[in-house]
Every structure is written in structure tokens, then in C-alpha cells.
Amino acid sequence: MSEAPDALRIADLRLTIRSDEGPARVLDHVALRLRRGHVLGVVGESGCGKSTLVRAILGIMPAGARIEAGEILFEGTNLLALDDAALDRDIRGRRIGFIPQDPYLALNPVFTVGAQLMEIMRRHAPRGGLSGTALRHAFRERLVSLLRRVQLPDPGAALERYPHQFSGGQRQRLLIAAALACAPSLVIADEPTTALDVTTQRQILDLLRELVAELELSLLFVTHDLGVVAELCDEITVIYAGQTVESGPTARVLAGPRHPYTRALLACHPERARAFAGIPGSVPSPLAPPPGCRFAPRCAEARPACAARRPALVPAGSGKDWLADCILYGQEAPLGTPGR
């Protein structure tokens, strides 16, 4: 028997969103691979398509969005082949948990935390043959133990309280508990610590690390913060203007980035920057992206052939898992994308 399929594999994902000014090509050849039990950091600057990618995986795309090509394999199942009812019944909230960015917006202020968490359980959790009061008690017990696990003080009483009675860090703990409520195997976190202070951020990152190891979770961690990736993630995938430009083991990519965009981005980091230079130019509009490599117009290494290049991740460093989509490392894809 072949080894278990990856937690998540995305290959050649292309997505457009209809707009008044024509189709916006928001994702163009996105590829990534998250191994079971690993933490993958998906990194990019605003507007690169990170959040759209997350919504595509969860099947909650904005109106007018259309997937043109590609596949999203969750433990071997192509999510794009499932209809919304099936996604809702078996995948979202059940086998894939989601931790949103803003703990202040994600909870409804007029319901108790317990009511909101119970709602998730009612919709998605396996019932184990129970019903009525017995089921409610079982759910409640599971929630209390989850809240204890995410180190929320006084978990029993917490269920009776309202979101405003918790601090930002505590709310993020509540949302982590919500994501874990139905014992998912994959958790997707969209910038979960951006709104938090640095000492609280560290508590939450430490907690996520522990949970990944303890519950054998796979974690897709979307962020713009390379420092957070360095501390939390086993692998990194860098996205620029809707294209995966580089992916590989975090420590090696951060130590010696291969793609010119990854290099430029790291050179802007205050820990690395010799002078505060930035990257010349700005991110192209998805309405009229440059042909070929989308970074070429800002790239110091660009040559005419870059505009004709078909997006393809090719081996760019030591080991077959270190890939970059750049003409510097070859014209075509001998091994294809990480999804192949």
C-alpha cells in the first residue's frame, strides 16, 4: 500500500473573480503541499491572494469567483469535486477546522460563547448515537475539556459568558477551541495572531505548536510575518500576486532564498535589511497581470523570456522539496508541481 496521502495538496489552482472591469485573475497556478502532522506557512503580502486561497479550500468563495483549473486534494479527496452540501456535511468545521484572523469580529456579541460553540457541535460533530439531553451533556463536556486544553481560565463558567468579557488573547483561544470542536485533522489559520500583542502572540503560537503535536494535526498557517513562520512552520510557501513563487523547508528557504521575490522580501525585513530600501514598483492588479512571471516587472534578474514563461515550480535548491518558479532554475517543469 502506498503511504497515506498528504493532508493538503494544491496543484495548478487558477481562480478568477468577475468584476465590473473584467475578470480578475486572482490565483494563477497556486501550488502547495502540506504533509500530515506538519505546519506549512503560506506567506505573501496584501493582495497576493492568501485569503482567497483559504476561501477556495473551504469552498466559501466570494460571489463571482470561478475556479478555472487545478485541484485541491484534502487527504486524497479532491474538494473541488464535492458539492456544497457534501462540503458542509463532511469537511468544513468537521474534518477541516478554521481559525479566523480577527478574534474581535469572529464571535457574535449577542450570544454567549457556549451557545456559539454548541451551534458548531450541533451542526458538525458526530453524535455517537446520543440525542436530547444526553447529547447536550456530551457536547458540553467536550467543550469544557477543549477550553481547558486551550488554557482558558474557568472553562465551565466561560461558556456562560459573552465575547466582550474576554481579552483578545482569550478570544483567540476560544476560536482555536471552536476550530478543534469536531476533532479535525487539518486546521487552517488565517493570520490568527495579527491582531494580538507580541506576548499574547507568543502564547498562542506556543499553544498551536503543542496542539499540532498532541492531536496530530496538520496546520496551514497563513501570514505575512516571516518571523512567525521562522518560529512556527516546518515548510514555507511564498505567494506573489496569486502565483506560488517558492516553497521548501522553512529554515533553508529563509537562510538562502532562491526566488528573486523571496530574496527581495527577506532583504526588506528589519533583521536583514542593510538599508531600508523596499522593493521598487508595486504589486500588479489581477485585472491586468503581466504575462508570464508576475514578478518580472519588479525583478532585478528579469530577462525578456520571463514574460513568455509558463508558471512552473522547478527544483531550486538542495533536496527535491525545495522548489521555485523562476527562469533562473530552468525553463520547464521536469518534475511538475508539488501536487504532481
Partner: protein
Amino acid sequence: MNAMTHSPAPLVEVRNLTVLLGGKRHLIRPAMPAVRAVSDVSLTLGEGEIVGLVGESGCGKTTLGRTILGLQRESAGEIRLEGKVVSALAPTGARAVRRAIHYVHQDAAAALDPWWSVGRTLEEGLVLDGVRAAAERRDRVASVLRAVGLDEAAARRYPHELSGGQLRRIALARILLVNPRVVILDEPTSGLDMSVQATVLNLLLDLRSRFGLTYLFISHDLSVVERFCDRVAIMYLGRIVELAPTAELFARPLHPYTRALLAAAPRLAGRRRERGPPLPGDPPSATRRPPGCAFAPRCRYAEPACRADEPALRPAAPGHDAACRRIDTMIGAEPEAVA
């Protein structure tokens, strides 16, 4: 870096500043007890210096900035500008004598009127400043736009047409128009992408040298502060707990809170091996200020005396002040918190 010669008399001098917020009687609501948002803060800004003010949300750094600016009246203490006392005044009077001090709002988009073109917003500052001739106003707007690296045509654009980085430039242009000497920058790079952040920081350095500016740089981003500031003040719950030249502070943090803060900041260099356990709990609210040293409930070095009275900020090493009762222990203890 960027160390400039410190003039003998600091440009701005803040002495024992305390700011109480709230506590007023209301017609129908019961009076809320006053909150000490800033507590006994002393700080100087030398000519041309960049002083970083670092702390987590709610620590009072923005209130301190607003009080130095003059929008918030101090409850006790003194503020001097070029040696002259400019405190103990109502906001209008305070602004009149502190016209050399200006403030760049944290949210550049929120600080602009969405219905006004950028040029009109910029000109308004000059109108208020008494510049009557429209042609002169237009010329000066065009010249500050060029100074912040934008095209003059940006004057005809509206805020929603501009990117985050461009809006920061507009915010800086608006300040430059009124000839500031001291600029309070409130989180000037928060919410910006790293590649844009670098260009904004570069512009700030450029403007400082061209216009002879002095910055109070309010931020929670330690990696930026480390690269950008000459001196750093760390705030916790309204008080400065540590103040030192940047290189000294990052190399030898003394206050337990500073150590925890540095240890918590994610770094490209990766996880630190020995950085101690994470700080327990959440920062307490200024409305429920713990007695004694406000940090004591979360501090692993705290002893009973720490909860009794508040330690003062005092010199712990040359040019290096800290407010901690156990400072001698801390000097001896390995800064296990930092790599």
C-alpha cells in the same frame, strides 16, 4: 545607528508627567473612577534624535504622545519645549505654544477626509496657518508631495485611490507643510507590507536629515525599533519601566518585562533555545492596576516587596534606566530571555 550629537538642552523634556483619564461626573451615569493612563513619566528628546516608545496595547503610549502634542491635558508634571515650559494649559493654548510639535496618526486613511481631494486636505493646513495666496498654497503642496516621493498629480487624487504606503506619505506631507521640528509618529508602519514599510522608514530617515526633524516613534514592532531608533523607552501600564540607548537595550535588557517582550518577538533567526516560559496571563487593564509594581503579578522574579510599592525609574548602568526593585539581581542574572 543614527546617533546624533545630543544638544545640552533637550528639545523636548517631559518631567513626571501623569495623565488621568475619565473620572468626570456625568449627568445621568455614575462617575467612573479616573484611570491613570500615564503615570509619572519622564523622557527627553534631543535635537535630531529618534526615540522609540514601545509597549503593548493599552500601555498608554498613544496617550503620552497626545499629551506631549497638547491634545490631552496633563494632570501633573511638566513639559518643556526648548527649555520653555509649555504645560499647564488647556488644549487650544497648549497647541498654540507647541506648534513645532506635530503628530502623524496611526491610521493614515482615517485621518483624511474621503470626500476631499488630497490637495484640498493638504491646503487646509496652510489656510489654518494663515497662508492667503492660493498660488503659494498650491506651490507648497506640490513641493511637499515631491519631498515625500509622490507626483504632484497626487494632489488631485482621493484617499480611496491611494495605497497604504501612499497614504502614509500623504500623512507625512501634511505635517511637513507646517514646518514641524518634532514629529510624533504613532505606529507609522503598522498594517504596511514589509516591502512598503522599508520605503516608509527610508523616507522618514530622509526627511529627518533634510528637514532637521526629531521623532518620537511609537511602535510595538521591536525589529523595526531596533533598527530605527537611537534610544528606546519601554512602557508597561502607564509607566516607563526601562529606558536606554537602542543597542544597549537590545543587548542587555534589564527589566523582566523588557526581557519577556524581547523573548516573545518572533525573529527570522528562528526560535530561541533558552528564552524562558511565555509571560503568563494578559496585560492588566489600567482600570484594575495591581498595587506596587504593576508588572509583579506576571513577573517570575517578583518578591513580596514588589507588590508593596512602585519602583522608580533610576539609573542601573550608564545611560540605562530601569524601574525594578530587583534590578541588582537582574543585572547579575543571565538575560536568559534573549538569544
